[in-house]
């Protein structure tokens, strides 16, 4: 990709991150950077510790060791010292989940309005202005609905804004979850396997969407993905994990040619039998 020419600033610096669960070390001494206006992908076989990294970043786990530094507006925030909800609020990290976590009983539009809770809450003066319908709150709500519509339009769900979220088809739920994360106005968008369960056409649409977001919103995207067509097609930088350790870090072309990566994905004995360029792609078809 052309990422190298339009590099943004450093957004996230992960330094020596280690996460242990009892005797199991899920992530071992992992360091990597993510930049704004770049798509950074984390790949690796099942159980490599990808989602654990996400959970550390978004405050669901407290890392056993290491430093997670997020650069927002010239300020450096240490994520490992923050509560989960503050990470989303102050550090501007929004995430989606591997198993979709929508507010299934609420409508599509409501899902996106809830995502703007903090903004609306202060506009409603902790409900007092809202209770009496003061203009200050009304205009804030209108703006929130407009922002929601903007993203609904982008993910192609504007026609279904008043549907109950749980009744949407699977692919649409995935897109809605991304739209909801974007409604929080993040600096870094973390997507946990966004293409899981999508058909090839939906997967291609997702690529388009992610590229649009990177281009227009000037935010960084951190991606966990199994679908190699997504990863190889749109990533600016790929980090490969195996058994909790980083085994490769570089552009898609570099990673694809890396013997360590091929070994991790295909096993040692098959090395050399498979053309290196397609090694990573092959993984998903096995």
């Amino acid at each position: 990709m052309t990422g190298a020419t339009e590099l943004g600033g450093l957004l996230l610096a992960v330094e020596h991150l280690t996460m242990r669960f009892g005797g199991l070390t899920a992530v071992h001494d992992l360091s990597f950077n993510a930049y704004s206006r770049e798509i950074t992908a984390i790949i690796g076989p099942n159980g490599a510790g990808k989602t654990t990294v996400f959970n550390c970043l978004t405050g669901f786990y407290k890392p056993s060791a290491g430093r997670l530094m997020m650069h927002v507006d010239g300020e450096a925030l240490l994520l490992e010292r923050m509560d989960g909800f503050r990470i989303a609020r102050q550090a501007g990290i929004a995430r989606t989940f591997q198993n979709i976590r929508l507010f299934a009983g609420m409508t599509v539009l409501e899902n996106l309005i809830v995502a703007q809770h903090n903004l609306l809450m202060s506009a409603s003066l902790f409900s007092i202005a809202g209770l009496f319908g003061l203009p200050r709150y009304r205009s804030a709500e209108r703006a929130a609905v407009e922002r929601a519509c903007h993203w609904l339009d982008k993910v192609g769900l504007i026609e279904r804004a008043d549907w109950t979220a749980g009744t949407l088809p699977y692919g649409a739920q995935r897109r809605l979850e991304i739209a909801r994360a974007l409604c929080t106005g993040p600096a870094l968008l973390c997507l946990d396997e966004p293409a899981a369960g999508l058909n090839p056409r939906e997967s291609a649409e997702l690529n388009e969407l992610l590229l649009t977001i990177r281009g227009e919103e000037k935010i960084g995207i951190l991606l966990i993905e199994h679908d190699m067509s997504v990863v190889m097609g749109i990533s600016d930088r790929i980090i490969v994990l195996d058994y909790g350790r980083k085994i490769a870090d570089g552009t898609p072309a570099e990673v694809r040619a890396d013997p360590n990566v091929i070994k991790a994905y295909l096993g040692e004995e098959e090395l050399g039998k498979v053309p290196e360029t397609t090694a990573a792609d092959l993984h998903i078809r096995r």
Binding site: L109, H117, G130, E141, A161, D162
Partner: protein
């Protein structure tokens, strides 16, 4: 033609098969019922004199129980065959009623309010009826208050009566020791109850579902037992009496007023009648209940209300979106408790006497049943369920012994036919396009 008749034969064959299976199942159910009924109702002990016990048998009752279960099981099968579609079931009286209610929500609400306002002046109205209406409205208000906690925020609270009690005792103590009137005491009752809600909220922040229910149950009992044993302040089991009645803008309802005070009937120049006070009290609770309703409906459309519902749907997702679950939960507990406290304050002034006996677990259970039966989160459902649960036992005083049996049977029946409550329907808090359906 031949194919059609073949199909008919096949259908009838299947129907016969179905019938035998159903009969078998019904017989089995009746058998279980017989086994259960034999020791429970079939045998009765009685005093034969001299302290000895004799045994009387009631096999006719057992037979009746078995027959009822047999018939009921058959009827249930018929229903299930008709509505194999899914949990929501097909067309029943209630689904049709709910759909109709959604379409005509505004006229129905207005008619309901108009009826409630007119009730004391209707020709068939009586003091008893107005009293009953007042009781129903207290439960409606409590139901709407608990709805915030259970229906919206999804936090199962089995000790809601604690806040009701706190509100009632707050006012009773303020009136006894500081001489506050009802209208002066009302905000304090709400405030104190809300603080108790937040106090309860803190230790249970990490709990959900069953665990939360058990802790709230314990909290409800703690409050009651403290009230029962803290005699110097609460009067213990004797309670607090002579709680002042509400006045109409400073005009008391009494036959004869103390020096320098004009009573309601003197001021308006009408004949004194005890019914005036009863009617006034009825309107006070009607106003309180309607204000509660407006308040909660409004909150639902605000960020705080949406956060409650989001918390009910998925707490993890809430946190990932930057919503502080602690604040959301505490606000739900606090506001729910405040509404309960207001209701408690009204209860104290209406009764004129309160004791811990009024705040037992069965009250919590009744309020929760109203919310669950009405349909979680449904305001109209709460009204319907409150009318059913409070007034049916009143009308059923003739068979007082069977009240709890009928009550229980009605609960089971509703949960079988309407597992999500009488009027389970969620109205979106905002729509992009007015008038469009929320579901495809």
């Amino acid at each position: 033609m031949a194919a059609a008749s073949g199909l008919a034969v096949e259908n009838s064959a299947r129907a016969t098969l179905d019938w035998t299976a159903r009969l078998k199942d019904a017989v089995l159910a009746a058998l279980v019922a017989t086994l259960l009924a034999l020791p429970l109702v079939g045998v009765q002990t009685y005093d034969i004199g001299g302290g000895a016990l004799g045994i009387r048998t009631h096999f006719d009752w057992v037979a009746i129980a078995a027959a009822v279960v047999f018939a009921g099981r058959l009827a249930l099968h018929r229903r299930q065959r008709l509505h194999r579609g899914g949990e929501s079931g097909g067309e029943t009286v209630f689904t049709r009623l709910a759909a109709w209610g959604n379409r005509r929500a505004l006229p129905i609400t207005l008619t309901g309010i108009a009826f409630a306002v007119a009730l004391p002046f209707l020709p068939f109205s009586s003091r008893y009826l107005i009293d009953l209406g007042t009781t129903v409205l207290i439960y409606v208000m409590l139901g709407w208050g608990l709805n915030v906690v259970v229906g919206l925020a999804g936090l199962l609270d089995l000790g809601y009566v604690a806040f009701y009690a706190v509100g009632a005792y707050t006012f009773a103590l303020l009136a006894r020791d500081l001489g506050l009137t009802f209208w002066q005491g009302l905000p304090f009752s709400g405030l104190v109850a809300a603080s108790f809600g937040v106090i309860l909220g803190f230790p249970v922040l990490r709990l959900r579902g069953d665990y939360l229910a058990i802790v709230t149950l314990g909290f409800g009992e703690i409050i009651r037992i403290v009230l029962l044993n803290w005699s110097p302040v609460t009067g213990g089991p004797n309670g607090i009496s002579d709680i002042p009645r509400p006045s109409f803008f400073g005009l008391p309802f009494a036959r004869a007023a103390p020096e320098g005070v004009r009573t309601f009937h003197q001021f308006f120049g009408v004949e004194f009648s005890p019914a005036q006070r009863v009617t006034y009290i009825y309107f006070v609770i009607l106003t309180l209940a309607l204000v509660t309703n407006l308040f909660t409906l409004r909150l639902r459309r605000l960020p705080i209300g949406r956060a409650w519902e989001a918390l009910r749907e998925d707490e993890v997702a809430c946190r990932a979106l930057g919503i502080n679950p602690t604040n959301v939960k505490l606000s739900a507990f606090g506001i729910g408790a405040m509404l309960g406290g207001f209701a408690g304050c009204f209860f104290a002034t209406r009764q004129g006497f309160i004791s811990p006996e009024s705040f037992t677990f069965i009250e919590s259970a009744t309020i929760l049943a109203i919310v669950v039966l009405g349909g979680m989160g449904s305001q109209m459902g709460v009204v319907l369920a409150a009318i059913l649960l409070v007034s049916l036992p009143e009308f059923g005083r003739a068979f007082a012994e069977f009240r709890m049996l009928i009550f229980g049977a009605a609960m089971v029946a509703i949960m079988v036919w309407r597992p999500r409550g009488l009027l389970a329907h969620r109205e979106p808090s905002l729509r992009l396009r007015a008038g469009r359906s929320a579901t495809p």
